[in-house]
Protein backbone atom coordinates (compact mmCIF):
# COMPACT_ATOMS: atom_id res chain seq x y z
CA UNK A 1 0.00 0.00 0.00
CA UNK A 2 2.20 2.77 -1.31
CA UNK A 3 -0.58 5.26 -0.73
CA UNK A 4 -0.73 4.39 2.96
CA UNK A 5 3.04 4.70 3.26
CA UNK A 6 2.83 8.16 1.76
CA UNK A 7 -0.02 9.10 4.06
CA UNK A 8 1.91 7.85 7.08
CA UNK A 9 4.93 9.86 6.11
CA UNK A 10 2.92 13.03 5.50
CA UNK A 11 1.00 12.56 8.74
CA UNK A 12 4.28 12.14 10.59
CA UNK A 13 5.37 15.45 9.06
CA UNK A 14 2.28 17.11 10.54
CA UNK A 15 0.08 17.24 7.44
CA UNK A 16 -3.53 17.86 8.32
CA UNK A 17 -4.52 16.92 4.81
CA UNK A 18 -2.97 13.49 5.29
CA UNK A 19 -4.87 13.07 8.54
CA UNK A 20 -8.09 14.03 6.81
CA UNK A 21 -7.47 11.46 4.08
CA UNK A 22 -6.64 8.73 6.54
CA UNK A 23 -9.84 9.57 8.37
CA UNK A 24 -11.94 9.53 5.22
CA UNK A 25 -10.35 6.32 4.05
CA UNK A 26 -10.79 4.35 7.25
CA UNK A 27 -13.79 5.88 9.06
CA UNK A 28 -16.37 3.47 7.72
CA UNK A 29 -14.06 0.50 8.03
CA UNK A 30 -13.36 1.22 11.70
CA UNK A 31 -17.04 1.94 12.32
CA UNK A 32 -17.94 -1.44 10.87
CA UNK A 33 -15.28 -3.09 12.99
CA UNK A 34 -16.44 -1.36 16.17
CA UNK A 35 -20.06 -2.22 15.43
CA UNK A 36 -19.19 -5.86 14.97
CA UNK A 37 -17.17 -5.95 18.19
CA UNK A 38 -19.52 -3.93 20.37
CA UNK A 39 -22.97 -4.35 18.86
CA UNK A 40 -23.90 -0.87 20.03
CA UNK A 41 -24.10 2.18 17.81
CA UNK A 42 -23.29 4.83 20.38
CA UNK A 43 -20.38 2.96 21.91
CA UNK A 44 -19.02 2.15 18.46
CA UNK A 45 -19.14 5.83 17.51
CA UNK A 46 -17.37 6.75 20.74
CA UNK A 47 -14.65 4.20 20.19
CA UNK A 48 -13.99 5.31 16.62
CA UNK A 49 -13.99 8.94 17.74
CA UNK A 50 -11.51 8.19 20.54
CA UNK A 51 -9.22 6.23 18.25
CA UNK A 52 -9.05 9.01 15.66
CA UNK A 53 -8.60 11.76 18.25
CA UNK A 54 -5.77 9.83 19.90
CA UNK A 55 -4.29 9.11 16.50
CA UNK A 56 -4.50 12.81 15.55
CA UNK A 57 -2.58 13.72 18.69
CA UNK A 58 0.14 11.21 18.03
CA UNK A 59 1.62 12.68 14.86
CA UNK A 60 4.77 13.95 16.56
CA UNK A 61 5.64 10.58 18.03
CA UNK A 62 4.03 8.43 15.38
CA UNK A 63 6.17 5.46 14.38
CA UNK A 64 4.72 2.59 12.45
CA UNK A 65 6.46 0.00 10.35
CA UNK A 66 3.45 -2.13 9.49
CA UNK A 67 0.05 -1.67 7.95
CA UNK A 68 -1.90 1.43 8.83
CA UNK A 69 -5.17 -0.46 8.43
CA UNK A 70 -4.07 -3.12 10.89
CA UNK A 71 -2.75 -0.53 13.32
CA UNK A 72 -6.02 1.39 13.41
CA UNK A 73 -7.98 -1.85 13.64
CA UNK A 74 -5.83 -2.90 16.59
CA UNK A 75 -6.52 0.43 18.31
CA UNK A 76 -10.26 -0.15 17.83
CA UNK A 77 -9.98 -3.66 19.24
CA UNK A 78 -8.09 -2.44 22.30
CA UNK A 79 -10.59 0.30 23.02
CA UNK A 80 -13.52 -2.01 22.36
CA UNK A 81 -12.09 -4.46 24.88
CA UNK A 82 -11.76 -1.65 27.41
CA UNK A 83 -15.39 -0.72 26.86
CA UNK A 84 -16.54 -4.32 27.22
CA UNK A 85 -14.55 -4.72 30.43
CA UNK A 86 -15.92 -1.47 31.75
CA UNK A 87 -19.47 -2.59 30.97
CA UNK A 88 -18.86 -5.90 32.67
CA UNK A 89 -17.62 -4.17 35.81
CA UNK A 90 -20.64 -1.89 35.88
CA UNK A 91 -23.24 -4.45 34.89
CA UNK A 92 -25.20 -6.38 37.48
CA UNK A 93 -25.71 -9.40 35.28
CA UNK A 94 -23.84 -10.87 32.33
CA UNK A 95 -23.45 -8.60 29.34
CA UNK A 96 -25.35 -9.70 26.29
CA UNK A 97 -25.06 -8.19 22.86
CA UNK A 98 -27.78 -5.61 22.80
CA UNK A 99 -28.05 -4.69 19.17
CA UNK A 100 -31.48 -4.31 17.73
CA UNK A 101 -32.13 -3.77 14.10
CA UNK A 102 -33.56 -0.33 14.72
CA UNK A 103 -30.48 0.74 16.68
CA UNK A 104 -28.25 1.10 13.68
CA UNK A 105 -30.61 3.70 12.36
CA UNK A 106 -31.40 5.40 15.63
CA UNK A 107 -33.42 8.59 15.84
CA UNK A 108 -30.73 10.63 14.11
CA UNK A 109 -29.87 8.03 11.45
CA UNK A 110 -26.16 8.72 11.80
CA UNK A 111 -25.07 5.21 10.93
CA UNK A 112 -26.36 3.61 7.80
CA UNK A 113 -26.48 -0.12 7.21
CA UNK A 114 -28.35 -2.55 5.01
CA UNK A 115 -30.74 -5.08 6.53
CA UNK A 116 -28.31 -7.84 5.71
CA UNK A 117 -25.49 -6.01 7.45
CA UNK A 118 -27.65 -5.65 10.55
CA UNK A 119 -28.58 -9.33 10.44
CA UNK A 120 -24.93 -10.36 10.08
CA UNK A 121 -23.96 -8.02 12.88
CA UNK A 122 -26.59 -9.49 15.18
CA UNK A 123 -25.25 -12.96 14.46
CA UNK A 124 -21.64 -11.90 15.05
CA UNK A 125 -22.75 -10.24 18.29
CA UNK A 126 -23.77 -13.65 19.59
CA UNK A 127 -20.23 -14.99 19.29
CA UNK A 128 -17.76 -14.90 22.19
CA UNK A 129 -15.61 -11.72 21.99
CA UNK A 130 -12.40 -13.48 20.99
CA UNK A 131 -14.17 -15.27 18.13
CA UNK A 132 -15.77 -12.01 17.03
CA UNK A 133 -12.33 -10.44 16.87
CA UNK A 134 -10.91 -13.31 14.85
CA UNK A 135 -13.71 -13.11 12.29
CA UNK A 136 -13.87 -9.37 11.74
CA UNK A 137 -10.11 -8.79 11.92
CA UNK A 138 -9.38 -11.51 9.39
CA UNK A 139 -12.24 -10.88 6.99
CA UNK A 140 -12.82 -7.16 7.27
CA UNK A 141 -9.37 -5.88 8.28
CA UNK A 142 -7.47 -8.46 6.26
CA UNK A 143 -5.20 -9.23 9.19
CA UNK A 144 -3.18 -12.40 9.08
CA UNK A 145 -3.75 -15.07 11.70
CA UNK A 146 -0.22 -14.44 12.93
CA UNK A 147 -1.14 -10.82 13.68
CA UNK A 148 -4.45 -11.80 15.26
CA UNK A 149 -2.68 -14.38 17.41
CA UNK A 150 -0.19 -11.76 18.57
CA UNK A 151 -2.98 -9.32 19.39
CA UNK A 152 -4.90 -11.95 21.32
CA UNK A 153 -1.80 -13.36 23.02
CA UNK A 154 -2.40 -16.88 21.78
CA UNK A 155 -0.82 -19.26 19.31
CA UNK A 156 -1.59 -19.06 15.61
CA UNK A 157 -3.41 -22.39 15.82
CA UNK A 158 -5.64 -21.07 18.58
CA UNK A 159 -6.48 -17.99 16.56
CA UNK A 160 -7.21 -20.16 13.55
CA UNK A 161 -9.37 -22.43 15.68
CA UNK A 162 -11.35 -19.50 17.04
CA UNK A 163 -11.92 -18.34 13.50
CA UNK A 164 -13.19 -21.76 12.37
CA UNK A 165 -15.42 -22.17 15.43
CA UNK A 166 -16.81 -18.71 14.81
CA UNK A 167 -17.65 -19.39 11.20
CA UNK A 168 -19.33 -22.69 12.03
CA UNK A 169 -21.37 -21.05 14.74
CA UNK A 170 -22.31 -18.20 12.44
CA UNK A 171 -23.46 -20.66 9.83
CA UNK A 172 -25.72 -22.39 12.30
CA UNK A 173 -27.08 -19.08 13.62
CA UNK A 174 -27.81 -17.73 10.16
CA UNK A 175 -29.21 -21.02 8.88
CA UNK A 176 -31.40 -21.24 11.97
CA UNK A 177 -32.83 -17.84 11.15
CA UNK A 178 -33.56 -18.92 7.61
CA UNK A 179 -35.34 -22.08 8.78
CA UNK A 180 -37.56 -20.06 11.08
Amino acid sequence: MIEDELLKWRFKCGSQDALRRIYEKYLNHLLTLAMALLSDVNTAQDVVHDVFVAFAKSSEDFKLQGSLRSYLATCVVNRARDRIRSNQRNAVGPVEPSIKESETGGPEQLVIASEEAQRLNCAIGRLPPEQREAVVLHIKSQMKFKEIAKLQGVSVNTALGRYRYALNKLRSILDGEVEK
Binding site: R20, Y23, T32, K57, S58, C75
Partner: protein
Amino acid sequence: MKSVDQLEKTIRNKLSFTADGRLHNRILTEVLAAHEESKQGKSDPLSRNIRRVVMYSRIMKLAAALIIVGISVGICYITRDTHSSVAFADVVKEMQQIRTATWTEIDVVSPPKIKGAVQIVGNHIRQCAYKAPGHERQDTTQTLVDPRTGQPAEFKNIHIIDRNAGKALLLNPQEMTAAIHSFDPNVHQNALYDVFLNPPENIPSDAQSLGTKQIGNREAIGFRLQKKTDGTYPWSGDITDIWVDAKTRLLVMLETGAADGGWMFRLKDFAFNQELDDSLFSLDPPQGYRMLIPPPKILSVEPPKQD
Protein backbone atom coordinates in the same frame (compact mmCIF):
# COMPACT_ATOMS: atom_id res chain seq x y z
CA MET B 1 -26.60 -24.22 4.16
CA LYS B 2 -23.95 -21.71 3.13
CA SER B 3 -20.40 -22.93 2.74
CA VAL B 4 -17.62 -21.32 4.74
CA ASP B 5 -16.35 -19.61 1.62
CA GLN B 6 -19.77 -18.17 0.89
CA LEU B 7 -20.11 -16.97 4.45
CA GLU B 8 -16.72 -15.28 4.33
CA LYS B 9 -17.66 -13.63 1.09
CA THR B 10 -20.98 -12.47 2.51
CA ILE B 11 -19.32 -10.94 5.56
CA ARG B 12 -16.63 -9.32 3.43
CA ASN B 13 -19.11 -7.75 1.05
CA LYS B 14 -22.24 -7.19 3.08
CA LEU B 15 -21.13 -6.38 6.60
CA SER B 16 -20.69 -2.66 6.29
CA PHE B 17 -21.72 0.33 8.35
CA THR B 18 -21.43 3.83 6.97
CA ALA B 19 -21.28 7.13 8.80
CA ASP B 20 -23.62 9.68 7.32
CA GLY B 21 -22.42 13.18 6.51
CA ARG B 22 -23.28 14.63 9.90
CA LEU B 23 -21.45 11.99 11.87
CA HIS B 24 -18.56 12.16 9.43
CA ASN B 25 -18.29 15.93 9.84
CA ARG B 26 -18.80 15.87 13.60
CA ILE B 27 -15.96 13.48 14.26
CA LEU B 28 -13.73 15.06 11.62
CA THR B 29 -14.10 18.50 13.19
CA GLU B 30 -12.98 17.17 16.55
CA VAL B 31 -10.16 15.11 15.06
CA LEU B 32 -8.76 18.10 13.17
CA ALA B 33 -9.13 20.29 16.24
CA ALA B 34 -7.28 17.70 18.32
CA HIS B 35 -4.55 17.56 15.70
CA GLU B 36 -4.13 21.33 15.70
CA GLU B 37 -4.24 21.49 19.46
CA SER B 38 -1.64 18.80 19.62
CA LYS B 39 0.63 20.69 17.27
CA GLN B 40 0.25 23.89 19.28
CA GLY B 41 1.01 22.09 22.50
CA LYS B 42 4.47 21.11 21.39
CA SER B 43 7.24 23.40 22.60
CA ASP B 44 9.97 22.36 20.24
CA PRO B 45 12.53 24.94 19.24
CA LEU B 46 11.33 27.35 16.59
CA SER B 47 14.02 26.23 14.23
CA ARG B 48 12.54 22.74 14.16
CA ASN B 49 8.93 23.85 13.99
CA ILE B 50 9.12 26.80 11.68
CA ARG B 51 7.65 25.02 8.70
CA ARG B 52 4.83 23.53 10.71
CA VAL B 53 3.97 26.83 12.36
CA VAL B 54 3.97 28.66 9.06
CA MET B 55 1.79 25.96 7.53
CA TYR B 56 -0.79 26.28 10.30
CA SER B 57 -3.29 27.99 8.02
CA ARG B 58 -3.69 29.32 4.52
CA ILE B 59 -3.17 32.81 5.80
CA MET B 60 0.13 31.82 7.28
CA LYS B 61 1.01 30.36 3.93
CA LEU B 62 0.17 33.66 2.27
CA ALA B 63 2.29 35.43 4.83
CA ALA B 64 5.09 32.99 4.10
CA ALA B 65 4.74 33.69 0.40
CA LEU B 66 5.01 37.39 1.04
CA ILE B 67 8.08 36.83 3.17
CA ILE B 68 9.66 34.85 0.40
CA VAL B 69 8.88 37.62 -2.02
CA GLY B 70 10.38 40.16 0.33
CA ILE B 71 13.55 38.22 0.84
CA SER B 72 13.94 37.63 -2.85
CA VAL B 73 13.56 41.36 -3.44
CA GLY B 74 16.20 42.14 -0.89
CA ILE B 75 18.67 39.82 -2.45
CA CYS B 76 17.85 41.09 -5.92
CA TYR B 77 18.47 44.64 -4.73
CA ILE B 78 21.86 43.66 -3.47
CA THR B 79 22.84 41.86 -6.61
CA ARG B 80 21.24 44.46 -8.93
CA ASP B 81 19.70 41.63 -10.82
CA THR B 82 17.17 41.45 -13.64
CA HIS B 83 13.89 43.11 -14.41
CA SER B 84 12.09 40.83 -11.97
CA SER B 85 13.83 42.43 -9.01
CA VAL B 86 12.02 45.68 -9.62
CA ALA B 87 8.64 43.98 -9.67
CA PHE B 88 9.43 42.02 -6.55
CA ALA B 89 10.47 45.15 -4.76
CA ASP B 90 7.23 46.84 -5.66
CA VAL B 91 5.22 43.82 -4.60
CA VAL B 92 6.85 43.71 -1.21
CA LYS B 93 6.55 47.43 -0.70
CA GLU B 94 2.84 47.32 -1.42
CA MET B 95 2.12 44.11 0.45
CA GLN B 96 3.76 45.36 3.60
CA GLN B 97 1.18 48.14 3.77
CA ILE B 98 -1.79 45.78 3.76
CA ARG B 99 -4.29 46.12 6.59
CA THR B 100 -6.88 43.66 5.36
CA ALA B 101 -7.07 41.04 2.66
CA THR B 102 -9.71 38.70 1.31
CA TRP B 103 -9.32 36.01 -1.29
CA THR B 104 -10.65 32.70 -2.52
CA GLU B 105 -8.81 29.41 -2.55
CA ILE B 106 -9.75 26.51 -4.78
CA ASP B 107 -8.26 23.14 -5.59
CA VAL B 108 -7.20 23.30 -9.21
CA VAL B 109 -5.97 19.72 -9.20
CA SER B 110 -7.34 17.67 -6.31
CA PRO B 111 -5.35 14.80 -4.91
CA PRO B 112 -6.57 11.41 -6.19
CA LYS B 113 -9.78 10.11 -4.73
CA ILE B 114 -9.45 7.38 -2.17
CA LYS B 115 -11.32 4.16 -2.65
CA GLY B 116 -13.79 3.59 0.14
CA ALA B 117 -13.66 7.16 1.39
CA VAL B 118 -16.58 9.54 1.56
CA GLN B 119 -16.79 10.79 -1.96
CA ILE B 120 -16.01 14.44 -2.43
CA VAL B 121 -17.65 16.05 -5.41
CA GLY B 122 -16.04 19.08 -7.01
CA ASN B 123 -13.53 21.34 -5.35
CA HIS B 124 -13.07 22.51 -1.83
CA ILE B 125 -13.69 26.25 -1.88
CA ARG B 126 -12.27 28.39 0.87
CA GLN B 127 -13.17 32.03 1.40
CA CYS B 128 -10.38 33.62 3.41
CA ALA B 129 -10.03 36.91 5.22
CA TYR B 130 -7.19 38.52 7.14
CA LYS B 131 -7.17 41.61 9.32
CA ALA B 132 -4.03 42.94 10.87
CA PRO B 133 -2.82 42.13 13.33
CA GLY B 134 -3.39 38.43 13.70
CA HIS B 135 -7.09 37.97 12.87
CA GLU B 136 -7.95 35.26 10.40
CA ARG B 137 -11.06 33.60 9.06
CA GLN B 138 -11.62 30.74 6.65
CA ASP B 139 -15.02 29.58 5.39
CA THR B 140 -14.75 26.19 3.72
CA THR B 141 -17.39 24.64 1.50
CA GLN B 142 -17.19 21.14 0.17
CA THR B 143 -19.69 18.87 -1.51
CA LEU B 144 -19.84 15.28 -0.33
CA VAL B 145 -21.95 12.41 -1.54
CA ASP B 146 -24.40 11.63 1.24
CA PRO B 147 -24.00 7.85 1.65
CA ARG B 148 -27.64 7.49 2.65
CA THR B 149 -29.16 9.14 -0.36
CA GLY B 150 -26.30 8.88 -2.82
CA GLN B 151 -26.94 12.53 -3.61
CA PRO B 152 -24.41 15.35 -3.35
CA ALA B 153 -24.84 17.47 -0.25
CA GLU B 154 -22.99 20.64 0.67
CA PHE B 155 -21.11 20.86 3.96
CA LYS B 156 -19.51 23.94 5.44
CA ASN B 157 -17.22 24.77 8.27
CA ILE B 158 -15.78 28.01 9.55
CA HIS B 159 -12.45 28.53 11.24
CA ILE B 160 -11.73 31.83 13.03
CA ILE B 161 -8.35 32.43 14.62
CA ASP B 162 -7.25 35.23 16.91
CA ARG B 163 -3.50 34.90 17.19
CA ASN B 164 -3.30 37.70 19.76
CA ALA B 165 -5.68 35.89 22.10
CA GLY B 166 -4.35 32.45 21.24
CA LYS B 167 -7.80 31.10 20.46
CA ALA B 168 -9.51 29.47 17.54
CA LEU B 169 -13.25 29.05 17.02
CA LEU B 170 -14.53 26.16 14.91
CA LEU B 171 -18.11 26.42 13.69
CA ASN B 172 -20.16 23.62 12.17
CA PRO B 173 -23.20 25.22 10.51
CA GLN B 174 -24.81 21.85 9.74
CA GLU B 175 -24.87 20.82 13.38
CA MET B 176 -25.07 24.41 14.65
CA THR B 177 -22.22 23.60 16.99
CA ALA B 178 -19.14 25.56 18.00
CA ALA B 179 -15.89 24.68 19.72
CA ILE B 180 -13.16 26.92 21.10
CA HIS B 181 -9.56 25.76 21.16
CA SER B 182 -6.66 27.52 22.78
CA PHE B 183 -3.04 27.70 21.76
CA ASP B 184 0.02 29.57 22.87
CA PRO B 185 -0.23 32.97 21.14
CA ASN B 186 3.46 33.64 21.57
CA VAL B 187 4.43 30.69 19.49
CA HIS B 188 2.45 31.87 16.51
CA GLN B 189 3.00 35.60 16.75
CA ASN B 190 6.66 35.28 17.37
CA ALA B 191 7.00 32.75 14.62
CA LEU B 192 5.22 34.96 12.12
CA TYR B 193 6.77 38.30 12.97
CA ASP B 194 10.21 37.01 13.71
CA VAL B 195 10.33 35.52 10.30
CA PHE B 196 8.97 38.70 8.80
CA LEU B 197 11.48 40.96 10.47
CA ASN B 198 14.44 38.66 10.42
CA PRO B 199 14.13 36.54 7.34
CA PRO B 200 16.29 33.45 7.41
CA GLU B 201 19.03 33.26 4.85
CA ASN B 202 17.88 29.97 3.46
CA ILE B 203 14.84 31.37 1.64
CA PRO B 204 15.37 30.95 -2.14
CA SER B 205 16.55 33.95 -4.09
CA ASP B 206 16.26 32.40 -7.52
CA ALA B 207 12.78 33.55 -8.51
CA GLN B 208 12.27 32.84 -12.15
CA SER B 209 10.46 35.39 -14.28
CA LEU B 210 7.36 34.06 -16.01
CA GLY B 211 6.80 37.15 -18.10
CA THR B 212 3.39 38.71 -18.34
CA LYS B 213 -0.13 37.49 -19.06
CA GLN B 214 -3.70 38.69 -18.88
CA ILE B 215 -5.65 37.61 -15.81
CA GLY B 216 -9.18 38.84 -16.17
CA ASN B 217 -8.85 42.36 -17.47
CA ARG B 218 -5.50 42.97 -15.82
CA GLU B 219 -1.98 42.53 -17.04
CA ALA B 220 -0.03 40.47 -14.55
CA ILE B 221 3.68 39.83 -14.05
CA GLY B 222 4.64 36.35 -12.95
CA PHE B 223 7.39 34.80 -10.88
CA ARG B 224 8.09 31.18 -10.09
CA LEU B 225 9.62 29.96 -6.84
CA GLN B 226 10.85 26.40 -6.52
CA LYS B 227 11.04 24.47 -3.30
CA LYS B 228 14.50 23.73 -2.02
CA THR B 229 15.35 20.07 -1.85
CA ASP B 230 16.56 20.43 1.73
CA GLY B 231 13.06 21.46 2.80
CA THR B 232 14.06 24.91 4.04
CA TYR B 233 11.66 26.73 1.78
CA PRO B 234 8.57 27.32 3.93
CA TRP B 235 5.85 26.80 1.38
CA SER B 236 3.62 23.82 0.88
CA GLY B 237 4.05 23.31 -2.85
CA ASP B 238 7.08 22.26 -4.82
CA ILE B 239 6.40 25.05 -7.28
CA THR B 240 4.76 28.37 -6.50
CA ASP B 241 3.75 30.86 -9.17
CA ILE B 242 3.04 34.41 -8.04
CA TRP B 243 1.20 36.79 -10.34
CA VAL B 244 1.01 40.49 -9.49
CA ASP B 245 -0.77 43.39 -11.10
CA ALA B 246 1.61 45.14 -13.48
CA LYS B 247 0.40 48.54 -12.30
CA THR B 248 -0.38 48.21 -8.62
CA ARG B 249 2.13 45.39 -7.87
CA LEU B 250 -0.47 43.75 -5.65
CA LEU B 251 -1.12 40.02 -5.77
CA VAL B 252 -3.60 38.89 -8.40
CA MET B 253 -3.19 35.15 -8.25
CA LEU B 254 -0.99 32.63 -6.53
CA GLU B 255 -0.74 28.97 -7.42
CA THR B 256 1.19 26.30 -5.57
CA GLY B 257 1.36 22.56 -6.11
CA ALA B 258 3.33 19.38 -6.48
CA ALA B 259 6.07 19.15 -9.08
CA ASP B 260 4.46 16.07 -10.62
CA GLY B 261 1.13 17.85 -11.04
CA GLY B 262 -0.57 15.57 -8.50
CA TRP B 263 -2.21 18.47 -6.70
CA MET B 264 -2.40 22.23 -6.94
CA PHE B 265 -4.45 24.96 -5.33
CA ARG B 266 -4.98 28.53 -6.37
CA LEU B 267 -5.45 31.75 -4.42
CA LYS B 268 -7.40 34.30 -6.44
CA ASP B 269 -9.87 37.18 -6.32
CA PHE B 270 -7.70 39.16 -3.95
CA ALA B 271 -9.08 42.35 -2.45
CA PHE B 272 -6.92 44.47 -0.20
CA ASN B 273 -7.52 47.12 2.42
CA GLN B 274 -11.28 46.91 2.37
CA GLU B 275 -13.20 47.53 5.54
CA LEU B 276 -13.87 44.19 7.23
CA ASP B 277 -16.33 44.12 10.09
CA ASP B 278 -14.88 42.95 13.39
CA SER B 279 -17.81 40.58 13.77
CA LEU B 280 -16.27 38.45 11.01
CA PHE B 281 -13.41 37.67 13.36
CA SER B 282 -15.39 37.41 16.58
CA LEU B 283 -14.70 34.41 18.76
CA ASP B 284 -18.22 34.54 20.19
CA PRO B 285 -20.34 31.81 18.58
CA PRO B 286 -23.24 33.19 16.52
CA GLN B 287 -26.70 33.06 18.05
CA GLY B 288 -28.25 29.61 17.98
CA TYR B 289 -24.95 27.72 18.06
CA ARG B 290 -24.40 25.13 20.77
CA MET B 291 -20.96 25.22 22.35
CA LEU B 292 -19.26 21.83 22.45
CA ILE B 293 -17.02 20.81 25.26
CA PRO B 294 -13.57 20.25 23.76
CA PRO B 295 -12.77 16.57 23.24
CA PRO B 296 -11.11 14.96 26.26
CA LYS B 297 -7.35 15.10 26.31
CA ILE B 298 -5.74 11.80 25.46
CA LEU B 299 -2.07 11.73 26.16
CA SER B 300 -0.99 9.50 23.32
CA VAL B 301 -2.27 6.86 21.02
CA GLU B 302 -1.76 3.51 22.58
CA PRO B 303 0.50 1.00 20.88
CA PRO B 304 -1.07 -2.33 20.06
CA LYS B 305 -1.23 -4.17 23.33
CA GLN B 306 -1.74 -7.77 24.18
CA ASP B 307 -4.20 -9.18 26.62
